[in-house]
Amino acid sequence: MKNLMEQKMLKKVILKIAIATVFVSTSSFSLAQDTTTISKNLDWPRIEKQAKGQTVYFYAWGGSQQINNYLRWADKQLQQQFDVRLQHVKVDDISTAISRLLAEKAAGKVTGGTIDMLWINGENFKNMKQNQLITQPFAQQLPSWQFVNKDFPVDNDFTEPTEGLEAPWGIGQLIFIHDKKRTPTPPTSMKQLLTFAQQNPNKFSYPQPPSFHGTSFLKTALLELVEDPALLYQAVDEKTFVKTTQPLWQYLDQLHPLSWQQGKQFPTSSAHTMQLLDDGELDLAISFNPNEVSSAQSNGTLAETTDSYAMENGALSNIHFLSIPFNANAKQGALVAINFLLSPEAQSKKGDLSQWGDPSVLKTQYITGSAANTKLFKSVAEPHPSWQAALEQAWQQRYGH
């Protein structure tokens, strides 16, 4: 009898799984309307009440212990103040989260999703927006929005309008790090950099594109070398692309033989360039955090004699954001968490120069502690997003094999 039941159960399960498999193979998804939309004007006290007891699964890059520690602190504060748990899901690349959301969307899972909140910008945001993985504007309705410094370009992300679908969290600026003892006068333009490499062969390199920092270096170089920088703020024109970028490739052809490992290998990431700087293999490291040096010094990853600087023309700058996916399970909790992370208290802690040191997006009068001494360099806006892929492809074609 038991056996029979077991077999029946088995059959049921097999059937269910088989159906699912077929469904996976052939389904098209329907865009069901979400019932728990965030209304235009948030009833904030109600949201805080609903958020009580919720656990917010926050997908974010987990590679930096300083950032992880900051999120542990935020979790503690949120539990104490709002009875909301912030569970940091550490991923090595946020695209893992995006492909998960795509899968959930394909399965028609419009509520009760597994991701409540994520940390994104640039390409990733554009792709999420295009695939309608974020559907409800919320940023401007947050109570903490009043503190945000609107002088920063907080309403567009790599020239893509945010439309309130994501809330600004911090600022990135492409800076260079040098050791004042070893290299007292570092190069501040691309031309100087080439001379520097001629005098000090094997001591410079940049992260290999298509890594984020590597492509950003290419953009910085192109912005300086191109005849008309205005071209880079329009979509790539395939006809003129070769001609426009010619100076960059000529430059790199000269630079690579003088670079680390003769340009046959490149560092994998920004963190790798910092490690190599500390190992004495490189003279310059690249980072997107203008306060990286003070944070790294107190953490022990860089020597006390290191310092950061930007290129003469300015530092390539962008903003990184927080967002809530279309099917988030703990929407209210996520709103409360984001609102807290945008508060003066949390932003000041985030900018603590001995910790993470990420520059705040709030108006300066709200920032306290060492975060108030944050360094910001003259900024250069990010080119049109189409340049990202085009440059990466051309680089791969020339140097990637």
């Binding site: 193979s25 699964y57 590679g63 090595d92 597994t114 892929a389």
Partner: protein, 599 residues
């Protein structure tokens, strides 16, 4: 009636095994195929196309990358097998073997990534060896000869890491082969011990190591994390390329990644059959070398200079291999330990300039839960997988006592979870999980662990199971014992060393699972490995070192226990004696047994 119930029970158990172990392949493989041919329900694309393969073929450097990937896989697999066999031949019966066997567990427990971190720090131009040589001889090493970030480093690193695995898997197997008698017999026929190993043991050893060899081959072909740390990047190996394409949020590159993953899977199938073919060639087809009298007698004049040279170099390779495995692993481990306690260790210091407990202290409060989750998951999934394997082995076995239910499952099906790119399989599985109900996170993660652990346990038990002497069964049955009693009181105790070792392997495989835990657990389940991998993208050697150490300690415990049990169990003649008295007793026992056999 009773029989009928028995039969249904058997069938349903078998179905359960098949469902648990092979069903996830359906969505996994179909997902991979659909994605590779650009059929994507998410984007409403239902017309298949080859555009992914076209993109792939046009990708700059792709052919170099594929050639290099094959190169690395074939050479490192060949070297691992060769070195392992030479080591076994040279030391298996020597008095040092016990020491070598004891050293294998910690080396094996050292995870690949941890080993790679330590290995890289040893051999980079600013690494430990270079610092040491600068300090002592004022000469920096590895500035001209590049090892790290070169395929040479990848081949060396993988070989050094796979040799202990082959040795470990051989321990249980060699206990099943009658090494001593075979050698004695061969020597009495005039073969030297070396020749006896080659001509008598090798042809028995190689076929039984088939799965292990395929496993390391597939691993070296599809490894991403190690390759990222010590492998070349211009161009990178194919799996690293696929990984980086998948990490882009642009869906077009995902298409290329899926096509690449399919190509990788096909390459893997190709290599699996190459391994089988080569084995067949050596062991079954071209057998003349096994019994040809030429070059057998040591004093024979016919020995050419070449043979002598190759013999000498093989012996040298054995020693060199063993020493480099021991040295590289222990030094890597030491590097990691030192890093975990340092705050600053800048170039050109040989020791850290600043020591600190800071990183241990900040991590410890968060470690306990992670530890419990990891170990619980590993033990549970390895136990389930072991039970399933036992069922399958008994049913699958040609020499089964009852021939009523026999099902031969093709080997390629069993090894699919190992050889198919994990990421592509998981994409399909994840989708299926979401349809059925993704909120049962623990269940899905457990199932996926069982799914990936199963083939490893199967392959480590397959050899011992096949070489089990059926005579024991016959004797037991003829003495009137039931089939169950014979199985439980004779077969299992004799195979216990192999079983506990396979358990340890299974546990370590489960502990190392990153993608299944993350993708199916949706971040609800954090293990030491998910934490370690997430942290490794930040390149902070100190925190990476802490997690790498924890990743080492856990499996080490299980390997040590397994080896201890393996030594104390199994056939009497291969047990390690507890004391002199017992040794005497065993000796006597052995003698009587020999006598009994000769009669």
């Amino acid at each position: 009636m009773n029989n009928c119930i028995k039969k249904t029970t058997k069938t349903s158990i078998l179905i359960l095994v098949l469902v648990l172990c092979f069903l996830p392949m359906l969505p996994g493989l179909s997902g991979l195929l659909l994605a590779a041919f650009a059929i994507n329900p998410r984007l409403n694309q239902f017309h298949g196309s080859l555009s992914g393969f076209e993109q792939l073929a046009q990708f700059p450097g792709i052919s170099q990358s594929i050639l290099m990937t094959l190169n690395v896989s074939i050479i490192s697999t060949f070297l691992s097998v060769l070195i392992s066999f030479v080591i076994l031949r040279r030391w298996y019966q020597s008095k040092h073997w016990q020491k070598i066997e004891n050293a294998i567990a910690p080396i094996l427990a050292l995870p690949h990534v941890a080993f790679a971190i330590g290995f890289a720090f040893l051999f980079t131009p600013s690494g430990f060896i270079s610092r040491l040589s600068t300090e002592l001889f004022e000469f920096a090493l590895f500035t001209d000869v590049q090892i790290i970030k070169h395929q040479l480093g990848l081949i060396i690193g993988l070989t050094l890491k796979e040799v202990p695995f082959i040795l470990f898997m051989s321990i249980a197997l060699l206990k099943q082969l009658n090494i001593k008698q075979s050698l004695q017999c061969a020597q009495s026929l005039g073969f030297s011990q070396q020749q006896a190993w080659l001509k008598v043991i090798f042809p028995q050893w190689l076929p039984k190591m088939r799965f292990s060899i395929i496993a390391i081959m597939a691993y070296s072909l599809s490894v991403v994390d190690v390759s990222l740390i010590i492998g070349p990047s211009i161009p990178s190996t194919l799996p690293v390329m696929i990984w980086s394409w998948l990490n882009e949020s642009n869906l077009d590159t995902h298409l290329m990644a899926a096509s690449g993953a399919l190509v990788l899977a096909l390459l893997c199938v190709l290599l699996v059959y190459t391994v089988i073919f080569v084995e067949w060639l050596i062991v079954k087809k071209c057998t003349s070398w096994q019994f040809s009298g030429r070059k057998t007698l040591t004093g024979c004049k016919g020995i050419s200079l070449f043979t002598r040279l190759s013999k000498a170099s093989l012996a040298g390779l054995g020693s060199l291999g063993l020493i480099s495995v021991l040295l590289a692993s222990s030094l890597s481990l030491i590097m990691i330990i030192v890093w975990s306690f340092s705050k600053r260790w800048p170039y050109p210091h040989i020791l850290p300039s600043n020591w600190s407990l800071q990183f241990w202290q900040s991590e410890l409060p968060y470690l306990f839960d992670t530890f419990v989750t990891s170990i619980g998951l590993a033990m549970l999934s390895a136990t389930i997988a072991l039970l399933l394997v036992l069922v399958l082995l008994e049913v699958n076995n040609r020499n089964n006592i009852s021939h009523k239910v026999r099902l031969v499952i093709p080997m390629i099906l069993i090894v699919t979870p190992i050889i198919a790119p994990q990421l592509s399989l998981l994409l399909g599985i994840q989708l299926a999980a979401i349809y059925i109900g993704a909120e049962h996170f623990y269940l899905w993660v457990l199932w996926s662990h069982v799914f990936f652990v199963f083939p490893y346990i199967y392959l480590s038990l397959d050899g011992p199971w096949r070489s089990f002497d059926q005579g024991f069964n016959k004797v037991g049955l003829s003495l009137g014992k039931s089939a169950w009693t014979v199985w439980w009181t004779i077969k299992i105790p004799l195979l216990l060393p192999a079983i506990v070792i396979s358990m340890a392997v299974g546990i370590s495989v489960s502990l190392a699972q990153f993608l299944p835990t993350l993708m199916l657990g949706a971040g609800r389940i954090a293990t030491i490995t998910t934490e370690a991998v997430a942290l490794s993208s930040g390149q902070d050697r100190r925190v990476m070192a802490i997690y790498a150490l924890l990743q080492t300690i856990t499996p080490l415990f299980f390997f040590a226990v397994a080896l201890f049990i393996a030594k104390k169990t199994g056939p009497l003649e291969s047990r390690t004696p507890f004391s002199f008295k017992k040794q005497l007793k065993q000796h006597k026992h052995k003698r009587t047994k020999h006598e009994a056999r000769s009669i």
